[in-house]
Symmetry: C2
Subunit: 139 residues, 2 copies
């Protein structure tokens, strides 16, 4: 294989717009929802570009991504820096809280090795209805 010539990143108008949209909210939204918001805010960014930007950001750890039960991927800006964490997310409005659970991490590793499994990964997501949404009687 070739020594992979270090891929460069360029800060474009579009990427900046996506970043700005992400910064303006702490809620989980789908790529299409972010795209809608950008268009409504006057941007002419293309849908594919939004997908690409969000995926790149998710890979680099700058945004959090979760997959819903229906298979949709939701993104939001990551508030917790590099650190591994989980979420408590409102199913109705996308609001989310960062959750830390170091005990779980250790427990998962132990259980896995007890069963002979290696290269462990895990998915932990809590969903519910936030106080505001409950008050409005949504859902």
């Amino acid at each position: 294989m070739t020594p992979s010539p270090a891929p460069q990143q360029r800060m474009t108008k579009q990427r900046a717009a996506v970043l700005e949209a992400l910064e303006a909210s702490t809620e989980f939204r789908s790529a299409q929802a972010w795209h809608d918001r950008l268009r409504h805010d006057g941007s002419t960014v293309g849908l594919a570009t939004v997908y690409r930007a969000l995926q790149a950001l998710a890979e680099s750890g700058d945004v959090d991504a979760v997959v819903t039960d229906s298979g949709e991927t939701l993104y939001r800006r990551c508030e917790a820096g590099e650190e591994h964490h989980h979420h408590l997310r409102c199913r109705l409005c996308g609001r989310a809280e960062d959750i830390d659970m170091p005990e779980f991490e250790r427990w998962a590793d132990r259980i896995a090795s007890q069963h002979g499994y290696s290269r462990i990964d895990h998915t932990v997501e809590l969903t519910g209805v936030c106080e505001a949404c409950a008050a409005e009687g949504r859902g």
Copy 2:
């Protein structure tokens, strides 16, 4: 709303075949994978029918369903009866172990209410590479 006239279930050849296939394995497979297996075993069951059967079984709690990171839904027969449980699944072959974690359940409820969230639901899945797959050097 109408008194919902008690929906009946009929045991058809196709549903029996799906059940039989599920009984013959403890591994998580996609609807399409189960369909393939059924066709290879001589059945002429249609793909849509397999989807319908698996969904019905999942709703009734007779099979476990998980959504992968890529959005695909995997099914396998449920070994743990009605009881709520989680899985440690091999990413390569679909093998899975049932995992119980009552502490987590309690913890999740507590965290959620501390943040003012109600109607809590949760997703906890562990994935890894099982001993057999690791031995074969797959992945």
